[in-house]
């Protein structure tokens, strides 16, 4: 792994499951790369597809979206909406010729500290393998 290059992965985590799972990973001292930059949201369904695009266009090398497992959303059906929206964002990415592998949706429950750490590690590796987000390179105004 290239030591110098630390990608940046904007990670939207829902307060009830994945954010708690991420805290649990920390209290259990499970180690993962600093690339993961968490942003707390109340529910994964708060994440407007525009957030993902905007984070991406602002130079995030990857965007991670964490929610409760399907059926477990604290707000009944929130993550079903998330799932559908995410599928669309993927398609949009693909049709715009962006790298859809740079965005990932993961269901991580409050008790899944290890899963959070695993996803964090895996995803960072994927992103490192892909290299920097091309939009990060100079743009001209």
């Amino acid at each position: 792994m290239d030591k110098k290059y630390v990608p940046r992965i904007t990670s939207f985590l829902c307060k009830w499951c994945s954010y708690t799972g991420a805290d649990l990973a920390g209290t259990s001292r499970l180690q993962y790369p600093t690339a993961i930059i968490p942003i707390k949201v109340m529910c994964s369904s708060r994440v407007d597809p525009v957030f993902i695009l905007r984070a991406f266009l602002k130079g995030s090398d990857g965007v991670l979206l964490g929610g409760c497992h399907p059926g477990d959303c604290h707000y009944e059906t929130g993550n079903y909406h998330t799932r559908r929206r995410f599928a669309i964002v993927k398609t949009v990415f693909e049709s715009l010729g962006l790298e859809a592998e740079r965005i990932r949706l993961s269901w991580i429950s409050a008790s899944e500290g290890p899963k959070f750490a695993r996803v964090a590690n895996e995803f960072t590796e994927t992103i490192i393998a892909m290299g920097e987000n091309p939009v990060k390179k100079k743009i001209f105004l």
């Binding site: 630390v6 940046r8 904007t10 009830w16 499951c17 954010y19 708690t20 991420a22 805290d23 649990l24 990973a25 920390g26 209290t27 259990s28 001292r29 499970l30 180690q31 993962y32 790369p33 600093t34 993961i36 930059i37 968490p38 942003i39 707390k40 949201v41 109340m42 529910c43 369904s45 708060r46 994440v47 407007d48 597809p49 957030f51 905007r54 984070a55 266009l57 602002k58 130079g59 995030s60 059926g71 477990d72 604290h74 707000y75 009944e76 059906t77 929130g78 909406h81 429950s109 409050a110 008790s111 750490a117 987000n133 939009v135 990060k136 390179k137 100079k138 743009i139 001209f140 105004l141």
Partner: protein
Amino acid sequence: MGSKRNSVLIVGAGIAGIQAALDLAEMGVEVHLVEDTPTIGGRMPQLDKTFPTNDCSMCILSPKMSECARHPGIQIHILSNLKNVSGKPGRFKCTILERAKYVDPVKCVACGLCEDKCPVKIEDTFDVGLRTRKAISRYFLQSIPAEYTIDKDKCLYLTKGVCRICEKTCEAGAINYEDKDREVELEVGAIILAAGIDPFDPIGFGHFGYHRYPDVVTSLEFERMLSASGPMGGHVVRASNGKEPKKLAFIQCVGSRDEGIDRNYCSSACCMFAIKQSIIAKEHIKDLDSSIFYMDIRAFGKDFDKYYEKAEKQYGVKFKRSKVADIIETPEGKLRLRYTLEKGTTQYEEFDMVVLSIGLQAREANQRLSEDLDIRLNEFGFCRSERFSPLMTSREGVFVCGAMNGPKDIPESVVSASGAVANAVRFLDLERQGLPTADESIPEKNVIGQRPRIGVFVCHCGINIAGVVDVKDVAEYAGTLENVEHTEDVMYACSTDCLDTIKKRIEEHDLNRVVVAACTPRTHEPLFRETINEAGLNPYLFEMANIRDQCSWAHMDQPELATIKSKDLVEMGVAKSRGLQPLERLPIEIDPKALVIGGGLSGMTSALSLADAGHQVYLIEKEDELGGNLRNIFFNFDDKDPQVFLGDLIKKVSRHKMIEVLKGAEIEDISGYIGNYKTSLKAGSGKEGRLLDHGVVIVATGGEEHKTEEYLLGKSSRIVTQVEFERMLHEKDFPAGKLKNVVMIQCVGSREEGRMYCSRICCSKAVKNALELKKVKSKTNVYFAYRDIRTYGFSEKYYTELRDEGTVFLRYTPDSKPVVELIDEDVTDSRARVTVFDPIMDRDVVIDADLVVLATAIDAPEKNEELAKKLKVPLNADGMFLEAHVKLRPVDFATEGVFLCGLAHSPKDMDESQAQAKAAASRALTFLNRKAVLAEGTICQVMTDRCSGCSYCESICAYSAIEVDPEKLVAVVNEALCKGCGACVASCRCGALDLRGFTNQQMYSVFDSLDLVITEKVGD
């Protein structure tokens, strides 16, 4: 009713006393918290980390301590003792003696100048003698109250009449040598004893060389060494040479499980304590080699075995089953342990440092308290309580919790504290509370339209953060950000000192937004919000950056990168805080009825507690009969018949006019939220469906016996489970013929792949049944195949008794399990041949058994999953319900208004289930006893001018909280129903919706703050 007092006196302000005080105060009860030492907090502040989550002890305790200090309903009496109690329950007259402090708490500003100047050094009891303090001092850094006190036996002026230096240095003029002890008379409805426990003093254990060899320390001393705020700043070094130890040994059961010194009980917590210390020590010293010398590892609590496994597999801690004979210091300064293995062979091994895992013992003060209060103690000096009334003392109206009536870990103490509260309220005159009235003396500052003036506080959290992240650098960086008017790094952001600092800075710099970079908002956000509110800011003008749980702890080997990430997180927090607006919280009415799911021991106990407190309860049971697993229990260590107890309980529950029992009921659906739940029951088999309205839910769905075919269970009527065996004993219905040999096999299904947990009660249960068997068939040989004997607490003595009866104990390991074969395949009641490898004799033992009894595991019911989904609460990996916080919120869910108890939480014994059931009731009462609570302010809003009235949001909202007004054709939010998830916001095509506290603008600015795109201007 009117003659009852609405106040409670609590003796002891450790975690149990604090929890009891907070629960009561939330119910509107006046609390007197009487504490012997100069501070509240008890033992927890001395601990560095807590098992099995490695959470920082002080960090999780601190918010509760502060809450206690600031709650108007709680009065703290430090340096005080309860002297005398007269009168009757409901109206006790108590006399407490408040000792002189010699410092006026009103004038003292806790600046510490006096301590610097005081010439008298004394032993620091908080740091167990590892450091000194002065005769005028405060107990520890985050003491509450923070004010200083003088030790009158050590002060030069008070003993010899000379000095008075502190008086001269104190600018506040707070020193008062004339201060006198005073007696205070109080009238209270009930008394809760939570006076705690003492560590065993191993000074008499000469063979371990404690005090003779500097590198032999107690576990408590070692804990202080590990602690960042401790005497060594978290750097473990040998007292003999100041170097880091490379080899560390833990000796278990020092002062526990030892008949010779009158301690034939297990201290219950030391195994886990040692495992934790070995893990944490490894984190401090990378290549540390640690070994734990033990008899049995008693990792019987929820998720404890996984922690044990982690220590062994991941951290390489060595577990050595042996008995340590003595320790000798070699001429090279090493400590040589002589120990005997199971096989009887003696071995020697040298270590740099030895930690004695000291047990817990009753406090000496219990004796006096028992005389003054006329309550009984047990044979070991602990407060006496019975298995079927685990929180009661021998005096009516006086209750006990925490470790005072037996060794307990932190969550058990918290549970028992809340449980004692449920008992106490019966003697109080509870009144349903209205909404807390806003403190008129601090008017809320109007910040709307003002330019943001942000204050940033970056927490060291001892070394939890500062050990990895360069905290000073982060704080400095924050200062360079736009709108940041003040930045500061602080030792513990949540300490009362620092909270005061935050308030002061708000004043000084006229701050209108506050960002704290620290542990996690999950535990600490409420505390900080309240703090800024006390300084006149709306609580929603606060933002937290998670630089511990999601940064320093997750990137321990990457200090530089973790510092960069912390800066990013702070920058994001600042960016988000710019857009914060003051929000209003609307009241939600609370329906005072409760739903209890599960009619076993726990459910019935909860229901009864709530009903006795005057609330209507729906108790639903899936079967056609109440009682649950208790119906299968016939014996108890102390002769009381469980079935008689059960009969009484069922009678009380069924006849209670406030309880409606719904048997054979199945839940169709649960909807709603705190205060306003609606549960529908399925119709069917002659029953009509029902719709129940209630304000809270208690989950008491119990556990199930593990179904298995292991060890040929089901293949012969002579191979049975412990549950079946107990019934057999009860009905005296043994298999035909002689009962010469009975083999008991433990851990059937427990502690192995797929069920990596201990079922906790099987060891005690098997011991109990074996003793019962011996009573009726004294000639029968009992063989006990086990992995570790886990008769924790006071059950230990029954294990000793069984040993003395001549029972043969054969230890097996998971890779050489006992083998059971049928002797005669053709009959249904074949005897069985059991082969167990005996490590003591180092060979197989073959037993022809007339009966094989299997201690099958306790499973989480499969139906938990369905219920968890309906309630929107989480399960753990084993399918058991997952509480809000394993240490300090053991009966709450993160979702407000839903609670859990009994086996639904994890396997536990009858007394523990009852305590937890009462605790759940008490936590529920903190809501039920209020007419309304405040909803979150972070809800959805509509910008009407943008709304096209497309009604798409209507179809998204799971709560029907948003609707299009048919006349105006714009969306309208029902603020009482909106939960603030933001699902509609993300779907709005016109951008007409927004989520308060998480607005689109705020979210954009958060990830925009990390702008990484390099731009260059071309053209003009």
